[in-house]
């Protein structure tokens, strides 16, 4: 059964179940299909809720008054099948009970023996583990409010801009497969990516980008065009609050104490204006290069000249910049 348009073997485009219209309209249709495909199915969501419940039981048995909150992509709904679950535990401790919880999770066999790690030297100390039943990865932090607040902000912007989920999931997959989706592998974090998408919509010259049914292909290419080509990372920073604006980086620097320089990708945190979300995104220029590449590929693929490529009916335009691995397809099939 070749549902992904492959003549033989695996094409990497499992979302493609039909032939699309020509050009940019076809790209719009394909983004919708990708979104439907990659979005969590009810069973997957259920499975993740069960992971949370297992961990919550261990925590409640240790500290009955502790509160466990889900934040990050699992709470906003903007997650890929392989995304982590982010949990935060609120309670009263003299020192963070990282090792106590680690031991309990190990004893109760919630976590895979070799998968559990305590990162106690990190800026935000966390426990990392893989759930032994589902192989879903989980990060647990303690008494940190910011993630929960950010998740609420993301949910608000999702309401305001209906196109955001479509753009963000394509962009997340795009960065994930290039290993540009984490700050420590030379990429950008998902909060930065999300705020970039919000700013793109807030400051878009055409007001109809927030209309109910704009062409998603046009918006995706325009996102890549802005951040891959036009955005001047040297001079310009992003501000989200009060409806959005750009800020001059040299002025940001003047306002900063002790000579701190704004990072290459400067994004003012709408929840905490003194905080630069893009700081430590040393890989911002690599991300910019990847966006520029995507701009070139997609704008060519939707141009009228591309019509004369052989087999364009069976080919995927979106598949030129993103692929879903066979492991993910199999993981989701069981």
């Amino acid at each position: 059964l070749l549902t992904d348009g492959a003549e033989d073997g695996y094409a990497g485009t499992p979302w493609k179940s039909r032939n699309y219209s020509d050009g940019i309209v076809g790209l719009h249709e394909e983004i919708k299909d990708f979104y439907e495909y990659i979005s969590p199915r009810p069973e997957e969501e259920q499975m993740r809720h069960e992971v949370v419940a297992r961990i919550q039981r261990v925590i409640k048995d240790l500290w009955p008054n502790a509160e466990v909150c889900v934040f990050g992509s699992f709470s906003t709904g903007l997650y890929l099948p392989t995304s982590d679950i982010d949990l935060v535990v609120f309670g009263n401790w003299e020192t963070l009970p990282l090792w106590t919880l680690e031991e309990a999770l190990r004893k109760r066999k919630v976590a895979d023996e070799n998968s559990i790690k305590v990162l106690d030297k990190a800026t935000v100390p966390i426990i990392k583990l893989m759930d032994s039943h589902t192989e879903v990865k989980v990060d647990i932090s303690f008494n940190v409010q910011s993630g929960v607040k950010a998740a609420n902000l993301i949910k608000d912007y999702k309401q305001q801009y209906p196109v955001l989920p479509y753009l963000v999931l394509v962009l997340k997959q795009f960065l994930l497969q290039r290993e540009l989706n984490e700050v420590f592998t030379g990429g950008i974090g998902s909060y930065s990516l999300f705020l970039m998408a919000v700013s793109f919509l807030q400051l878009h010259c055409r007001e109809d980008v927030s209309s109910s049914n704009p062409n998603l292909g046009v918006l995706l290419i325009e996102f890549f065009e802005l951040y891959g080509r036009h955005f001047n990372y040297l001079k310009t920073g992003i501000r989200i609050k009060d409806g959005g604006s750009y800020v001059a980086k040299d002025e940001v620097q003047k306002s900063m104490l002790d000579g701190y320089r704004p990072s290459m990708l400067y994004i003012e945190d709408p929840l905490q204006p003194g905080n630069d979300v893009g700081r430590s995104s040393y890989g911002a220029m690599q991300v910019k290069e990847a966006f520029d590449y995507a701009y070139v590929i997609l704008s060519h693929a939707v141009s009228p000249i591309a019509k004369y490529y052989p087999n364009n009916k069976s080919e995927s335009i979106l598949g030129r910049i993103i692929r879903v691995t066979q492991e993910v397809v199999e993981y989701r099939d069981w």
Partner: protein, 101 residues
């Protein structure tokens, strides 16, 4: 013959008037579909040149103009701005014309 692009001494698009590309590679060709999501005629905006009132420049970061209108130096010399608003929507004939070029 109207379909043929005349040779120009420098790369300027006579569809959108911007420098840096010829008419066949004009981003307006795909951008004009910004409201069209199904095959068939192009859905036009009621006021295609309407821009947001609050303009901010992605190039120099200042308020009052958009990035494509900026006269300041770009981050890269090779990059040319493009027009985010639609100057012209193709008719069915225009599209046919381009297909047979």
């Amino acid at each position: 013959d109207d379909c043929l692009e005349r040779a120009f001494w420098y790369k300027r698009c006579h569809r959108c008037g911007m420098t840096g590309h010829f008419i066949d590679a004009c981003p307006q060709i795909w951008r004009q579909y910004h409201l069209t999501t199904t095959a068939g005629p192009i859905r036009k905006s009621a006021d295609p040149k309407a821009c947001q009132k609050r303009a901010y420049c992605y190039n120099c970061s200042r308020k009052g103009h958009f990035g494509h209108q900026c006269s300041q130096r770009r981050m890269y010399n090779w990059s040319y701005p493009s027009l985010p608003v639609i100057t012209y929507y193709d008719t069915v004939n225009d599209i046919k014309c381009r297909d047979f070029r």
